[in-house]
């Protein structure tokens, strides 16, 4: 019996010892699933140059927020920005890390990628179930000369809670007061119509398979799958294609304010070339964990300096230089840079 106990104690001690010896070289983060691929790619490269290991668990934004509030991780990650008052309440600070966009995709026979034009009105009415057929007058009007079939629209949305849905529903809330009133914005909402696909791959799969359907996916998924993306009318009245340039234009036009802890959605951005549905994904730090915050900031500083190429390879949009500088100044104001 004594032997067993001593073995257990020995094991416990060695675990503790291992834990503490690694603590200085490991950054623990948890949260949003959307930026997981780029964070882990950055972590891999950063580990090679610095020896510091980043352990990121993509447990979802909600979990990330809870874990950083309880201070069980060094940083939390959330697809939706927290409001300044919420940050204050939990003693957190927040900065954007990378930008992602959402693209409506369709599957209509005879319509190829980039051929169908939509505007905010039509998009919100389709998702509210008020426009039911592809040959609706409103759609015809902005797509002159296109042969639109008299077929029912199958609406596809996400079935799981997600940052993609948060960005998309925030966009619909911004542009349609009807949507804001009836449905609202969030990581999961009460959808008036449509079927739900699990994850981006689920939505992409349904749209590919179901004729006359419409769905929304992250930019990367629209690009990598052979899905027919749509052209959207932005707030400047221009029709834009989803591309790195139009996302960058959206990011440039966004007035991220460090005083508000960068609380901003990039939806319906004012730039002439800006893609209207986009948002940054955010990093949350606990104010009092200064030591680990410095390590986290070092990692993101490296990512800002050297990580743009990796991010673009994975179809994420890096922050514009001006915004990076704002974030650096923000770090400085908290003495962690």
């Amino acid at each position: 019996m004594n032997k067993i106990i001593s073995v257990f104690i020995g094991l416990a001690i060695s675990f503790l010892a291992f834990g503490s010896s690694f603590a200085g070289n490991t950054i623990n983060g948890a949260g949003a699933t959307f930026p997981y691929p780029v964070y882990s790619a950055w972590a891999y490269e950063y580990n090679k140059v610095s020896g510091v290991k980043l352990n990121y668990q993509s447990i979802g934004s909600g979990g990330g927020i809870r874990q950083i509030v309880n201070k069980t991780v060094d940083f939390g990650a959330s697809d939706a920005p927290l409001k300044p008052e919420e940050l204050k309440k939990n003693n957190l600070i927040q900065f954007p890390a990378v930008i992602g966009g959402v693209v409506p995709v369709v599957n209509i026979r005879g319509i190829k990628a980039g051929e169908l034009r939509l505007d905010s009105d039509i998009l919100s009415m389709i998702y509210l179930g008020e426009i039911n057929y592809w040959d609706n007058e409103k759609i015809k009007q902005i797509n002159p000369g296109k042969a639109l079939p008299h077929k029912e629209i199958t609406v596809v949305h996400r079935s799981d809670g997600s940052g993609t849905t948060a960005i998309f529903t925030d966009y619909l809330s911004v542009i349609s007061s009807d949507w804001k009133e009836k449905v609202g914005a969030g990581t999961s909402v009460k959808w008036p119509v449509g079927i739900g696909g699990k994850g981006n791959e689920g939505v992409a799969n349904y749209v590919k398979r179901l004729d006359y359907s419409i769905g929304y996916v992250e930019f990367a998924y629209a690009k990598q799958n052979s899905l027919a993306h749509t052209i959207l009318k932005n707030s400047a009245g221009q029709f834009v294609e989803p591309s790195f340039n139009s996302f960058k234009a959206a990011a440039d036009s966004g007035d991220f304010d460090p005083k508000k802890d960068f609380y901003l959605w990039l939806n319906n951005a004012p730039g002439k070339k800006a893609w209207p549905i986009a948002g940054a994904t955010f990093i949350l730090l606990a104010k009092e964990k200064k030591g680990s915050n410095i390590n986290v900031v070092k990692f993101y500083e490296w990512a800002f300096e050297k990580g743009d190429k990796t991010a673009e390879e994975l179809v994420y949009i890096p922050l514009p230089v001006s915004l990076k500088n704002k974030v650096r100044a923000y770090w400085k104001s908290y003495n962690i840079y």
Partner: protein, 310 residues
């Protein structure tokens, strides 16, 4: 008694006793966690209010379990309806009809079916079964029995393959091995003497199965069915891929719905408000209680069967 003086025996007793006690402690602990985590939601919505409300609106922070309970009940019952006849057929074939050289391979195939991880069923369901259902089976159903009055209501709408029917079919495939192997064991309990006497009297195979094997093993088979019910109730990943997770109560089997487990799997990670999270825990608590009751029922029937025909 003198064994007690042996220290090895004492340690053995202690360790095995603690191990079994820890299971009970674990279950009580889980139940306690579920109750305490869901207390916020229990306070706000109450029991009846939560069960009867069909609203599931994270934005307005109004939650009700009715849609989830509906989806869980329909998929579970439907999958049992599909699986039980097939499973009993398999069990009868393996115990009474199949020649010996076939019994092994069939038994192994059934056990393999049980060993496939549910995520694989889910992927297969999404990429293979759902298109087949949408393109062939569901339109065929609509054309044949869909035009009947009343029953036709079950088959309304555009077949998309992401619906209650597809989810139930996947579930039924997953529970067939359980029902089949428990039924087989129950059939094997039938005393050989009685069966042989019946054959000696000139009974056919069908008559023996119908009048002797089935009545003898009734309770055991029933226990097996209830056990599969428990499994169907808790199945998550496979259903999550093909059910759509729409919180709605519909009359058509061709509509998307949500079950408790699917809602938990889909929404737990991004549940960002306290009441949202608490309501998910409340759903989990309901599922825990339902599974507990069903398993208790199953145990009851199996025990009764064993006592009757030892």
């Amino acid at each position: 008694m003198r064994h007690k003086k042996n220290p090895v025996d004492l340690i053995f007793l202690l360790v095995s006793g603690l191990a079994s006690l820890s299971v009970i402690a674990l279950i009580v602990g889980i139940l306690f966690t579920l109750i305490s985590e869901s207390s916020l939601s229990i306070e706000k919505f109450g029991l009846w209010g939560f069960i009867s409300s069909t609203d599931w609106n994270p934005v307005k922070e109004s939650f009700g379990a009715a849609t989830n309970l509906f989806g869980t009940a329909i998929t579970t019952v439907l999958s049992i309806l599909i699986a039980v006849p097939v499973a009993i057929g398999i069990a009868i074939f393996v115990t009474e009809i199949a020649p010996n050289f076939l019994k092994g391979p069939i038994g192994a195939a059934i056990e393999l079916l049980a060993a496939i991880p549910s995520i694989i069923y889910g992927m297969w369901g999404l990429f293979t079964l759902a298109p087949i259902m949408a393109n062939y089976i569901e339109p065929a159903l609509q054309k044949s029995i869909g035009s009947l009055p009343l029953v036709g209501m079950l088959f309304e709408g555009t077949p998309m393959g992401i619906d209650l029917l597809t989810a139930s079919v996947i579930l039924s495939i997953m529970i067939i091995p359980f029902t089949a192997s428990i039924s087989r064991d129950a059939f094997n309990l039938t005393p050989a003497v009685i069966k042989e006497s019946a054959y000696a009297l000139g009974a056919t195979k069908w008559e023996v199965v119908r009048s002797i094997v089935l009545p003898y093993s009734k309770l055991g088979v029933f226990g097996g069915i209830v056990l599969s019910l428990g499994r169907a109730l808790g199945e998550t990943m496979a259903v999550a891929f093909v059910l759509g997770n729409n919180h709605q109560i519909t009359s058509s089997l061709f509509d998307a719905a949500a079950t408790i487990t699917v809602t938990l799997a889909n929404e737990f990670t991004e549940a960002d408000t306290d009441i949202y999270l608490s309501s998910l825990f409340y759903l989990a608590l309901l599922l825990f209680l339902m599974s507990f009751i069903i398993l208790a029922l199953a145990k009851f029937f199996i025990l009764k069967a064993e006592r009757k025909y030892p």
